[in-house]
Amino acid sequence: MRSSYSRKSVVSRQAFKLATQRSPRFSSAVESGQSRTLLVDTEVSRFNQGRLRSSLKNRSQLLPVLYHNQLVRFNPDNKYLTGPEQLWLIESVIGTQTLAKALSIGKPIDNRLIENLFKKAPFAFYLSADKAYLVSSDDELTQLDFGPLTEISALTALQQFGVTALERVKEKTAVRL
């Protein structure tokens, strides 16, 4: 059963725009001038409750990515990586084999997967005595340069400083915070 509601009467302009952007069905309807009669009553109700918008988002949010000849799914709603082109940062810190093993399971690359990788990481990071530097190792020379060090877990370091900083620490031994 189709409805004759105009788009103004059933959804906000922003929600309508979002729907037309994310749904081929809506987009094609808009192009053919049928948008005024596209939303059925049940859909209107769901849309107004935010459910349809949510389901549309979930359907389209995972990006298929070919990474080292392996098809993986990347969740762009990601607080650690700005995009799949930054996956190498995770690989650089965690290691090629560890990342490959995690991706082979088929789970999407999202916040949870990244946090789990760092939670299981067999290494830590260290804060300098003045908390101004993050360093990669605790040894005689590092203590000479930075003073007594405070160990923090890889996961804590990820959550506090982000993966770009951790990759820099790994590559250059230290970063200024």
Partner: protein
Amino acid sequence: MPSDSNAILERLGPAVLPFERSNFNREVLPGEDVIFLDYIISLESGQVPANCLRCDSSDPSLLPSDLKYLWVIDQNGLRIIHEMTPNSLAARGCVCHTNITGNRKAFQGGELWFGKDDTIYVNNQSGRFKAITIAQQQAVLEYFRRLGFSVIQLPNRPS
């Protein structure tokens, strides 16, 4: 290599694979093990390369990153590469220390700048081949000096 090289190499070493001295157990990434032979400069002659990039400032905190070289001491001696050398084969987009060694063992690694007066400023900032003891750091300076360079140790604190 300097005279009495075995003794100094012993103090520098042992030679290690990338990241072996750090607590990271990982492999180098694709493209990071390609030897950039055309861009690598040997300093074994003890001469500052005539066409090298030089810094105006002698203030260590003002050494610009675009004039930075990466240095490595391995079985082939002391060699450098300009860090901003593009590496389209690697995700990071520029070269790293293993683009000098080809993912093989090295004694030490770090960064350096050339001053206007032929002074060389060095640090030990290499995640792959860094020094971990004061003795190793001192041996690095001695290696440079035995080749004939005037060298100044920089703090390993990034500015």
